[in-house]
Amino acid sequence: MNKKLLILPAIIFSSILLVFFYLLIIDRDPSGIPSALINKKIPKFETKSLLTEETFISSDLFNNEITLVNFFATWCKPCRDEHDNIKKLSNEGGLKIIGINYKDNNEKAIKWLKELGNPYTSVGIDKNGSIAIDWGVYGIPETFVVDSSGIIKYRHVGPITNKIYNKINMIVIAIK
């Protein structure tokens, strides 16, 4: 009886070590948090539009095509870094991208887009960050991939690097 019991700590230990080993070899970001909104419908919201006079209503914007949603701000350096890739997604990828301007100054944002180029079909203003909270945003820039029926399929936290650019393209192809 006793001898068998003694193998138990060894087995438990090795299983735990195996789990650690697995976690080390896969490609993961130890600080990244999966979105709670994956495979859920997009949060409804209504706000002012940055560039036009119209009101910005979520239900009008997402109609039967794959859409990207990008939370950005002029005071956020990684947002500036990823801007070229966002433009690429819009121009070369032909993707519809909606921008949400997070806790920003309207004039500065309009100027920023004018100078750097505007990849967004429309931009909504999130002055106090409540839209971001509804989307579970915690660290801008954040980009969401929404399919044609308004279901969120993927979320990336942080700037869209070249690697992530490719990943998003693959995801878009997969959900078509």
């Binding site: 948090i33 709670a36 806790k103 106090n128 960050g129 909270i133 509804d134 989307w135 915690y138």
Partner: protein
């Protein structure tokens, strides 16, 4: 035996109730209704600051932490209870935002194994003791 369990459960319940100092709450955030403020602190102590390492929103000066503190207080003033507020937050941020892991099937081992180990070791020692008493 039942008495032991009861006392144990009592300890569980009792060690949950505290009033906490906050080192990040701003003066304008503090609610005038003391009971509401205590509830806000209690909830905040359980909400993780998503951009910090292992801190609650009550201890973090990050902007998102502040937004969430204000959001929680607004909801309390609207009359929502802590369950509704937790649900609101986990719907958006997932279970990760709770510092106290919720009791779900996947967290059963987390919550019950320590207690289980304690019981098993006590039983094992009693059994060994009984065995040696026979000899």
């Amino acid at each position: 035996m039942i008495k032991k369990v009861f006392i144990f459960v009592l300890f569980f319940v009792i060690t949950q109730n505290y009033y906490f100092n906050s080192y990040a709450v701003e003066p304008e955030e503090i609610l005038t209704n003391k009971k509401q403020e205590i509830l806000a602190r209690k909830i905040s102590k359980n909400i993780r600051c998503m951009v910090c390492q292992n801190e609650s929103i009550d201890a973090s000066s990050a902007p998102l932490a502040k937004d969430l503190r204000i959001l929680i207080r607004n909801k309390i003033q609207e009359g929502k209870n802590s369950e509704e507020i937790y649900k609101f937050l986990t719907d958006r941020y997932g279970d990760f935002i709770l510092l106290k892991p919720p009791l779900k099937i996947i967290t059963f081992p987390l919550w019950f194994l320590p207690f289980f180990i304690l019981i098993i070791s006590i039983i094992y020692v009693f059994w060994l003791n009984k065995k040696s008493k026979k000899t």
